[in-house]
């Protein structure tokens, strides 16, 4: 977890990347990975509907970007975004989604069965690699519900609720994990079908410094399928 935070810090302070830039590239990777693993034609629901659950921090921001690109790729995303930071970045991303007619749910579906009926895929953009400690409401209840759905879950960077290094055996079991920048330790405990790498923005020098040993991305793709 510390290494991931150190890399992020260097990207922002040494390389002068803005959060906006990296978040946009990260969100685009997530949408692209989802499009590769779950093409619209593969959905059992009548429309390729996707529920994107966004948490209170940067992982939630990644989710908003992802939702916008999913819409452009022909999916029908719906966002649930209960705790919104009052920062221009997140307000901007929210507006971009709203102006693209992406609905924002006023409340979270209470029944797992309802989620399964309405959506062919759920994107977990609740907590990311900075997550530590206890899960605060409303996310505790949300995660409990998500643990009971049968629709596939695609988690952004870390399955929410997991310890960033050790995982969580009785927690969320997503079908897909999109590791951003590099897989985190928790990824070793991932047992879903699809593991993608996204966030193709790490300069070669930084990759060497932290001995990331990332396999090469194919051509100009922004995602790499690991499993």
């Amino acid at each position: 977890q510390e290494e991931a935070q150190a890399i992020d810090q260097e990207l922002f302070t040494e390389y002068k990347f803005s959060v906006d830039q990296l978040m946009e590239l990260a969100g685009l990777s997530c949408a692209t990975a989802i499009a590769k693993a779950y093409p619209p034609s593969s959905f059992t629901t009548s429309q390729p509907t996707v529920l994107v659950v966004c948490g209170p921090g940067n992982n939630g921001g990644d989710g908003l970007v992802c939702a916008r690109h999913l819409k452009m790729f022909g999916y029908e995303p719906t966002v649930y975004y209960p705790k919104r930071p009052s920062k221009p970045l997140f307000e901007g991303l929210t507006t971009q989604c709203q102006k693209m007619d992406i609905p924002f749910l006023p409340e979270f579906p209470t029944e797992a069965a309802l989620i399964d009926e309405l959506y062919g895929l759920v994107v977990d953009a609740i907590f990311g690699f900075s997550f530590k400690g206890a899960v605060r409401e409303p996310f505790g209840s949300i995660l409990s519900t998500l643990e009971r759905i049968t629709a596939p879950i695609a988690s952004i960077d870390i399955p929410s609720g997991w310890d960033v290094e050790k995982g969580k055996a009785d927690g969320l079991q997503p079908d897909m994990l999109i590791s951003l920048t590099a897989p985190k330790k928790a990824a070793m405990h991932f047992t879903g079908r699809y593991h993608f790498l996204g966030g193709r923005f790490v300069p070669p020098a930084l990759q060497q410094k932290y001995a990331l040993n990332l396999p090469p991305y194919p051509e100009t793709d922004c995602v790499l399928q690991l499993t």
Partner: protein
Amino acid sequence: CPHLLSQAFPLPSLPRKQPTVLVVCGPAQNGAIGLVCARHLRIFDYEPTIFYPKRSPDPLYRDFTTQCEKMDIPFLSYLPTEVQLINDAYNAVVDAVLGAEAEAGEGREPCATILATLKHVRIPIVSLDVPSGWDVEAGSSGGISPDVLVSLSAPKRCARRFLGRQHFVAGRFLPYDVQKKFELNPPEYPGTECVVAL
């Protein structure tokens, strides 16, 4: 831009041993887009070199410059006027000098000299949005002749005069109501691609 650079000139097909590309960046937004393009080219394993003589004071664009420098992308201190040197050293030139917002920018230095040199290169030129020096509506005779044009958002009027090999549009990020409002009628983008060949 870098996506289509690799579509138009896939790495294995490049004539020189090293996949070198010269990215010429002007003083305004078009130049800044060139900086972002150069960074992605580097990530895609090309070897970009940048010529950015008149740097914008805009903090966002200054950060783009830092990102490129920290990624070991060399910045030339001058552009050779000997065209053969450019032809020999690079496989292609990305023209990010002037965009649609330029007003007689071609008349001012250093753009005028740059464009005079670029007119004579024999390696392919990829222009971002508007071939630099062209009038945005009317085009230009006697100006630079790019091989590839990447229209940003939507093609500009002068694109009608484009005679090069490939014309791409990169505008997938435009929301539908903007597209409808301006009657852009963009083509379908394949899969998850962000550019489409016209």
